[in-house]
């Protein structure tokens, strides 16, 4: 038991740094995923068939490729191709673009939850297509996408661990646990604290989603 505590307190700075790296990866990658995901969702519901197809290809590609393969393409592959890309950039873009495909699908099904009659009504009132999306569809769709987006953030917290132990070697929470564990063969203790870190993050995300759901629930 003494070991367990000392593994945490002796390396507190490293633990906090690792936790912070994980948190930063998740936040930045989620921002990327939201921006790209919204664009792709807009493509998928665009009134042009070719744009729809383009969005569909994006989703099917990024949803079906393992994140680890994306990381190898983004880092080792692009470096070989001559691009000057660092581990941090490769990590957040891979995770962001990967999750963007799921975000796009969540947003699209949210948009389809708004009845077609409302869109037609808005268009016939003289709104342009982008105006209709912004003023009528998105505010309502937002409510229905809170919970799928919440599960995507949780998935993202978990997927961020792949970045650290793959070839990119960013010192995130899992990498920190591995480093600290290897120092004194205290893997069980080190991984226990990493688990606490990850469960804290996923637990907080779950709570936040539940609060948001309650806040924006339609009262009937």
């Amino acid at each position: 038991m003494g070991d367990l505590i000392s593994v945490l307190t002796d390396n507190l700075d490293e633990w906090l740094a690792g936790f912070w790296v994980t948190l930063r990866i998740v936040l930045v990658a989620f921002a990327i995923a939201m921006v790209v995901g919204t664009l792709v969702a807009a493509l998928r519901i665009a009134p042009n068939q070719w744009l729809q197809r383009l969005g569909g290809i994006y989703v099917e590609t990024f949803r079906n490729v393992p994140l680890l393969v994306l990381l190898f393409i983004a880092f080792a592959g692009l470096r070989r191709a001559g691009a000057d890309i660092g581990p941090w950039e490769a990590g957040i873009t891979s995770l962001g673009l990967y999750t963007a495909a799921y975000v796009a699908e969540a947003l699209r099904s949210g948009v389809f939850s708004v009845s077609k009659g409302q869109i037609e009504a808005a268009l016939s009132l003289g709104y342009t297509y982008p105006q209709t999306l912004r003023r009528v569809v998105f505010p309502q769709a937002f409510r229905t996408v809170i919970s799928p987006l919440g599960s995507l953030i949780i998935a993202m917290i978990k997927n961020s661990a792949i970045i650290g132990v793959s070839l990119l070697a960013l010192d995130d929470l899992l990498k920190t646990a591995r480093t600290i564990g290897s120092r004194g063969f205290e893997y069980s203790e080190a991984f226990f604290w990493a688990a606490v870190g990850y469960l804290t993050l996923t637990g907080l995300a779950t709570l936040a989603v539940r609060l948001l759901e309650k806040r924006y629930a339609i009262r009937r």
């Binding site: 949803r63 490729v65 994140l67 080792a76 070989r80 001559g82 949780i154 646990a177 564990g181 069980s188």
Partner: protein
């Protein structure tokens, strides 16, 4: 761009044994995926039933178990098991594994990988199945019980067939995720497709004189996953349509109108 479209680079990928080496690695991924899928589906169903058990302590313990494993990163679980599993376990696995098993699965390290995949995915699948079972109208179970069925009979003949069928799309997308996640076992040094890709491009991985086409190799590996996963989702969609046709006792009137028109 030159690098990407240079035909020499693509030719390198398929020359000699390179392509075969990658495909051999990919086969190991598929083997691990199939084993993990079967085990996860079985234990996932068991966990879901335990969580829904009418006895509070059992359902609490099962719920805690599920929530812990499904909220931890899979790669964390695999790495942890690989580092801390008692050395006797992989040895026992190597002894127990029949020799006709694929070569890629003979190594004892596979045990940690499969165990990790199953621990994580069974927890996720259990939640999916529970949601399916709970989405079913309570009256279904009550009616079955009122007809004199036991709890087990009502589950087996009434609740599960309907509840699980509803969750086929969610289950399939989780199985696709599982299929992708088999690449993660490469960090515990199992000779699957990512390892093979790295070995193939291993000389001067981060630059050097011999320009091995790393990008092309991993684009090819990505394409392999796209093909298999798309096939998987197509298959499930076809099954779904067939099931709906088979189980629909009363054909919707809409169909008749379409036939008439």
């Amino acid at each position: 761009m030159n690098y990407l479209f240079n035909p020499d680079n693509w030719e390198w990928v398929i020359t000699g044994n390179n392509l075969r080496f990658i495909l051999e690695g990919f086969a190991v991924n598929l083997e691990i995926a199939v084993i993990a899928m079967v085990l996860s589906l079985i234990s996932g169903l068991a966990l879901a039933l335990l969580r829904l058990a009418p006895w509070a302590p059992v359902s609490f313990v099962a719920g805690a178990w599920i929530d812990i494993w499904r909220n931890l990163p899979l790669i964390f679980i695999i790495l942890y098991l690989a580092l801390t599993i008692p050395g006797a376990w992989p040895d026992a696995y190597e002894d127990a594994i029949p020799s006709w098993f694929p070569e890629g699965l003979q190594s004892g390290r596979v045990l940690a990988a499969i165990l990790g995949l199953v621990l994580y995915n069974s927890a996720v699948l259990a939640e999916i199945m529970r949601a399916g079972i709970q989405s079913l109208d309570r009256g279904q179970n009550e009616a079955a019980r009122a007809l004199g069925m036991t709890y087990g009979q009502s589950m087996r003949h009434v609740v599960l067939p309907q509840g699980l069928r509803r969750m086929v799309p969610a289950t399939v997308s989780q199985l696709i995720t599982l299929n992708k996640d088999t690449t993660l076992v490469s960090i515990v040094a199992i000779q699957e497709v990512m390892r093979h890709g790295r070995i193939l491009t291993g000389t001067n991985f981060f630059g050097g004189d011999v320009p091995v086409p790393i990008l092309q190799v991993f684009l090819l590996i990505g394409a392999l996953f796209i093909i298999v996963n798309l096939a998987l989702s197509r298959l499930s969609r076809r099954l779904e349509v067939r099931e709906r046709k088979r189980t629909a006792a009363v054909k919707p009137v809409r169909d008749l109108a379409e036939q008439a028109a």
